[in-house]
Symmetry: C2
Subunit: 301 residues, 2 copies
Amino acid sequence: MSLLVVGSIAIDSVETPSGQAQEALGGSASYFSYAASYFCPVRLVGVVGQDFPDEYLRLLQNRENIDTAGVKVEPGKTFRWRGKYKGDMNVAETLDVELNVFGSFDPDIPATFRETPYVFLANGSPTVQRKVLHQVKSPKLVVADTMNLWIETARHDLLDLLKQVDGLILNDQEALMLTETTQLVAAGKKILALGPKFVIVKKGEHGAMLFSDDGIYALPAFPTDKLVDPTGAGDSFAGGVMGYLTYADKLDGETFKSAMAYGSVVASINVEGFSLARFKETTRHDIDTRFSKYRDMLKLV
Amino acid sequence: MSLLVVGSIAIDSVETPSGQAQEALGGSASYFSYAASYFCPVRLVGVVGQDFPDEYLRLLQNRENIDTAGVKVEPGKTFRWRGKYKGDMNVAETLDVELNVFGSFDPDIPATFRETPYVFLANGSPTVQRKVLHQVKSPKLVVADTMNLWIETARHDLLDLLKQVDGLILNDQEALMLTETTQLVAAGKKILALGPKFVIVKKGEHGAMLFSDDGIYALPAFPTDKLVDPTGAGDSFAGGVMGYLTYADKLDGETFKSAMAYGSVVASINVEGFSLARFKETTRHDIDTRFSKYRDMLKLV
């Protein structure tokens, strides 16, 4: 089975207590597609500017399991983000954003991608996300991400989108903001009532929770002591989750649990370096080794 | 095996978004001893004033597995705390504290309690905690709790105490404060270097982490959707952990994991009501039922 992802491809400059990275490959769809490619073929749709480094394009193009036929190069500059993490590194301080070619992104799904069974609408405006939905043909599973910006500025469109997707992935602060509540368990249940069959709430270093009609599933983050850069952790987590679901091609409770666990493992590896540095040196075997440790840690006799 | 706990017995007045409780039974040692009594015999040492309601004394006295021979009634009033929880209920706002008889608490461990193999020094000044240590004879395991007040005002005494205990239990904010760091994994490791063989960091709704030479063990909170009052959750968690360790009378990694899980289960029950309301209606069988659900939730195939 294949997985379609539509989202941002960016050039990030990041500073953390561990150091910094200048003009590094970033963006929700970059992290997501690389993370998912450990598990299944990924079809990537996004846009970059003419300044986008060849090296970054080749990194995605040459990756087995990533099909970049949907990556357009347009006149202008690539989406740029500059940010800084301090303290507990749970929240990034955005120093500068230039949307550039991503600001007018009008996704055009290649004909060969339109029948992809698994679809992930990475962070983007609900309007853009809906445009993708209108181009795909009878997908098995559609999951969307969102962020505080759209909750604040496009709530109506977002609520409309939630009626058309199977699942929503968002972080804890966004879940509380969307539901105007102060408790996560209540927030998760309220989002379910808005339409999606399941909701995954990402909690950074505290792990993640899955809400569905089957109840609540919570798991901790894989504890790493090498936190270097949290940028892309949430997108990597989502990539692991969706990649595993696509690989397994099943949507029962046990498969979802494994998917959440693989998402946690992949995210814990990603945060150990800047940009995609750790992914570049990580094999599927490394992921399975950490997954085994994680499973053993969680196992109670 | 038996478990000795020395700590506060209080009268609490609490307000949460779910309602309020006036002049209810509270205090670290009350929650701890009730939680631990599901697993092993508990020897309780504390002090109350002459105003302490008979009903509360009887609740502890009549509980099978709690020996109240160490509870002294002294002239004056009982320790009183008045607090309020808002929003995510992760932090209590203290509206009023009256130490009363607890302010001059000078623990006198009954002769019949002095050879208890498992010892828990519930939250109290490091000076008082050390006085207990000087009265117990060759315990198998001594674990201490602490709080921000002592980290701020009695750091030297606390650091001294850490060299004399086997384990420390504290919450996430306290761990960061004690180690003057901003990341929990780093904090846990730094505390290990201060003396204890293990450190348990409580994270409220996000679960808990165990640090030892064997590595890091993280587990999520049991997700309950009936959060009524978080008062005593940390003490109940500690009671479950220590109660199970005492019952098992083993200190290997698997036993610690089960102990942490039982602590989480007991705490998740406690927060579903004010004061000890939920404990009063909960049997060991109920705890085992929830433990099974928790184990199944965490199990990855």
